[in-house]
């Protein structure tokens, strides 16, 4: 009797501890993220803003790669469409966020719908090639259609986004305020995606990843689910692209090139595909490394390629995988 009570007490304590542990980390990170602008110099703050933006971008790709099992090699297409649409709308219509953001998201959704419709009917390798091919078409359009996109010089002269709350419209001009704006969107996207991947819809996507034939046999319209995931991922990538345009008030054709698709893929793999936090960590690691390395040498692509190769060979499940293994080892020792 006594033994049972002790055991129950221990179990309760353990549960409490694990609950605390579960909330301690996210809460700590949140406090850190909110506190950052107070201590960080402006240069690092803008880097952190960029990490959050690319975190959104990488999470959106992971919805396809890690959850649905669709290896898209042209995800930059939607990032670029969002970026250019936000920029063009700000130049030609109004810099108001209520104008540029819906247009950017709408354009990305439309692009994802068309490209997705053509691509999802193909399997595996064909899908990879087609997404890459379509992204390169959009890159060519951005690169060559100079009168509209600015061609190889990129789209410049984009006014800063406004909310229309104060007459001057400088609500987001301040880097700290812009950081909080991005942080808010990032948290919304993270929370939203968490809900999505834990919903029946998300489980269906994982089912498609694991065994597409069986899902079809059960009666799921696999193509429709894939298309839905593709469009959702495209819209979020477009959101990241629009935020990036707001941050840099500039859009360049390189954002649509395969290098961007490749870089975000690298972020997802290095961080850990099939998790939400992994891609964000991957984005942080890649961008921090890039900034660190670029101050010393121009050989960044080579170093990123090498780091990527090492991760694929030795740590296939990325930072999250390494972390899990460490925790498991510690638990075994304890």
């Amino acid at each position: 009797m006594e033994a049972i009570r002790v055991e129950a007490g221990a179990r309760l304590a353990k549960a409490r501890l694990s609950l605390a542990r579960r909330w301690a980390l996210p809460a700590g990170v949140l406090v850190l993220l909110i506190g950052c602008p107070l201590v960080l110099p402006q240069y690092l703050l803008s880097l952190l803003t960029e990490v959050l933006i690319f975190g959104i971008f990488a999470m959106s790709l992971d919805l396809l790669l890690g959850y649905t099992g669709l290896v898209s090699f042209g995800h930059a297409a939607f990032f670029g469409v969002g970026a250019y649409t936000a920029g063009l709308a700000a130049i030609r219509l109004s810099p108001h966020l209520g104008v540029t953001l819906p247009l950017a998201l709408g354009a990305a959704a439309l692009a994802a719908l068309v490209i997705g419709y053509l691509c999802i009917r193909t399997a595996g390798i064909y899908f990879l090639m087609l997404t890459l091919a379509f992204a390169q078409v959009l890159y060519a359009v951005a690169f060559k259609w100079t009168p509209v996109t600015g061609g190889s010089n990129g789209l410049s002269g984009i006014p800063r986004p406004t909310l229309g709350l104060v007459p001057g419209g400088g609500e987001l001009a301040d880097p700290i305020r812009f950081y909080f704006f991005v942080l808010l969107i990032f948290l919304l996207v993270y929370y939203g995606l968490r809900r999505v991947v834990n919903s029946p819809f998300g489980h269906t996507l994982v089912g498609i990843r694991e065994n597409e034939g069986r899902m079809r046999a059960i009666g799921y319209d696999v193509a429709r689910y894939k298309l839905a995931a593709f469009v959702l991922a495209g819209v979020l990538a477009g959101l990241a692209g629009a935020l990036n345009t707001y941050l840099n008030v500039f859009a360049s054709p390189a954002q649509l090139n395969w290098t961007t698709s490749g870089q975000v893929l690298v972020m997802v793999i290095i961080g850990g595909a099939g998790t939400l936090i992994g891609p964000v960590l991957g984005a942080a690691l890649v961008l921090l490394l890039q900034n660190l390395v670029s101050t010393h040498t121009d050989r960044w692509p080579m170093i990123m390629g090498a780091v990527f190769i090492i991760f694929v060979l030795l740590a296939r499940f990325g930072i999250v995988g390494i972390w899990d293994r460490l925790v498991a080892r510690l638990a075994r020792r304890a």
Binding site: R121, M129, L132, P301
Partner: protein, 324 residues
Amino acid sequence: MRPVRDVLVQRLLALLLIGLVTWLLVVPLVRLAVTAPETAFIQLLNGLAYSLLIFLIATGFSLIFGIMDVINLAHGSFYMLGAYIAYSIVGRSGDNFWLALLAAPLGRGLIGVVLELGYLRPVYRRGHLDQVLLTFGFAYVFSDIVRTIWGADIRSLPYSPLLQGAVEILGRPYPKYRFAAIIFGLVLALLLWLLLERTRLGSIVRAGVADPEMVSGLGINITAVFTAVFAAGAALAALSGVIAGPILGMHPGMDFDVLIVALIVVVVGGLGTFAGSFWGSLLIGIADTFGKVLQPEFSMALTFAVMAVVLLLRPTGLFGRSTA
């Protein structure tokens, strides 16, 4: 069984695209052939030369995929490195183009062997995605190596004086080098076809494309075949790079330009077959060449329209086996 509505939408899209291609490419082409048949013929020759170059790239790419199930995203890098290595050889050897033509593919093939044995083989068991990711990592590394060693300037490969000048075709001068490239490409294609269709080695490779496990069950060392095909594909891509060097020029970024073309070709022709890459290369090479002449603004889009039509009507390509 796909729903009727989906099929209808596909047919409609295909029809729309066919209309677009006809309007932008086929009609002007016929007009050109009638009003200036000589110009059209010269462009046809240019298209043929380009087709044979991309055939050399696409066929290795396609075979590697067919037999190993690996999309080799570093295949464009093989082509690029072939051209740049040849550039250095020509420079060092006192303009010996022939030496470069021989040595660059050989060297590139050796690098292919190292890549396959050292990196791809260890991850065989983990599935093909990991191998694709690895080739992607190497594409990054190679493209930066080229930038480090040779810089970012646009260069052109100097070639043998034997091939300089022009030959007369239909009373019109045509660059001798391009003409030689066409002949060389055709001969090489024929040799490749003979090798694949008429020899024991070829039948092993074709059997490997159909069912690698079965082949290894028959007592053939399939992993050695993998390495050989990978190296041969790398060498062919490098050879294409050397031949293309004087015609298309060399610049960083050429690796992915050509990879995209190879992707389009194999999607159109069907993966893993010789006939697919040959006819796919001809279709895309000639369409692209005429597209650049007739609609310079939209040539890229036209090529993709052709690909989209094929894909909508025959998702596995013109000569593709049905995907399992």
